[in-house]
Amino acid sequence: MIKSLIAIFLAAILTENYILNKFLGICPFLGVSKKLNTAVGMSCAVIAVMVIATAVTWPIYTLILVPNNLAYLQTIVFILIIAALVQLIETIMHKYMPPLYNALGIYLPLITTNCAVLGVTMLVIDKFYNPASPMGFSYVQALVNAFGSGVGFLVAMVIFAGVREKLEMCDVPKFLKGLPITLIAASLVAVSFLGFSGLVDGMLG
């Protein structure tokens, strides 16, 4: 059981990385990765929101939508819930954790419409939803997957922030300056992550 959770966690970071493998959340990946500390700040906010969003959307899906044959409302309901949730977290943080609010403040509203967060909440249901035990072990698996996906986001952001800091000092040909060379660098990082495919299966069976 623990083994399967570790496998889910590692797979979410390495082989099923949301940015580098599923190409979700590219906007913050390109927008906020110019500096290492902002990249880390944004990623921490994403980790928190991914876990909390999954923790809330899973019960709503399994206990409200599915019994009423409304699974097709998944997207719109999840967007609604994530938006409200991020707003709520922001209010709570502003009151009780001002330093954290100041550090993450600008990134939190950005996450409201982040497709990686919506992607995690929907894909964990595709993957782990088991009608026989809607709130059992599969719920824990979903949370671990969401957390791993957030950590994977962090890893990709940190790696790419390092790449971009190097890129700043490079003599780039004029026609590639700016976004083009950034996209090429991003694709190379993504290709390097392909090297992890099969790793988790091989390691943990």
């Binding site: 209010t91 502003h94 009151k95």
Partner: protein, 263 residues
């Protein structure tokens, strides 16, 4: 009728979420500092950091809490200090207008490049390669890191030397931090003697590198009536506190490196 339930469900979730948010924002309302917001309106909003705080909002908060004095904002100047003081109900105090000065006159007319530098077009990078591209290892590199850093477009690089348009300079200090050679300093904006050289080599070495360099001949020290000039490391410096702007040092300087700048 099949459509009714889903519509009600989504509307209901939206309503509940909205109610929770409304209640949360009332329960956990953070009192806004109105003084700080009023001050922020008055500040120039350049976020340059010349005051020593993290941008204009940081300075506004410190002012509202009484942890900072009005008048630290050099882009805003006297007018801004007076407005801030009016909001706080205190004295504005004097704001000394300052301007940035490049302590180098090494244009390509008076000094030479010892190599052709073809690397990254940035002073910070060029300064790391074999002591910089110019003969003088203290002087202006002329690749314009300061001009790129200036938010007011006050700096131009001509003939390998950065020059500052003092009428545009707001003394924010961005160029001071950007110069890898530490050539730029903020000086009080009044007529005073400025040593426009930063070369600390011995006189003979300086002469070889640049025809305008300070050779540490001590003539200015001997001719200064108020003792405002001293020579350390073969290089003269003027104490702006003591200088009365008489101009005698500039007359005797054999290298014409001390100039009376009215900025």
């Amino acid at each position: 009728m099949d459509i009714l339930f889903p519509v009600l469900l989504v509307a209901g979730i939206g309503l509940i979420a909205g109610l929770i948010l409304a209640v949360a924002s009332i329960i956990m309302a953070v009192p806004k500092d109105e003084t700080a917001e009023a001050i922020l309106e008055v500040l120039p909003g350049a976020n340059c950091g010349a005051c020593g705080f993290s941008g204009c909002s940081g300075y506004a908060q410190a002012l509202a809490k009484g942890e900072a004095k009005p008048g630290l904002c050099s882009p805003g100047g006297q007018e801004c200090a007076a407005q801030v003081a009016a909001i706080l109900g205190t004295e504005a105090g004097e704001v000394e207008r300052k301007a940035a000065v490049v302590a180098c006159t090494g244009s390509l007319d008076v000094t030479h490049e010892k190599m052709v530098y073809d690397g990254i077009a940035s002073c910070a990078a060029a300064a790391m390669v074999a002591g910089g591209p110019a003969d003088c290892r203290f002087g202006c590199i002329g690749l314009g890191d300061c001009a790129a850093a200036c938010p007011y477009g006050a700096i131009k690089v001509c003939n390998g030397l950065a020059s500052i348009d003092t009428s545009r300079c707001k003394a924010c200090g961005m160029c001071v931090a950007a110069c890898p050679r530490h050539l730029i300093q903020l000086h009080p904006a009044k007529k005073q003697a400025k040593v426009l050289c930063s070369n600390c080599d011995k006189g003979a070495a300086t002469m070889k590198a640049c025809s305008m360099g300070c050779i540490g001949c001590m003539k200015c020290v001997k001719n200064c009536e108020v003792g405002a000039i001293k020579v350390e490391n073969f290089h003269a410096t003027v104490d702006p506190e003591k200088c009365i702007g008489c101009g005698k040092c500039a007359e005797v300087c054999p290298r014409h490196v001390i100039q009376m700048l009215d900025i």
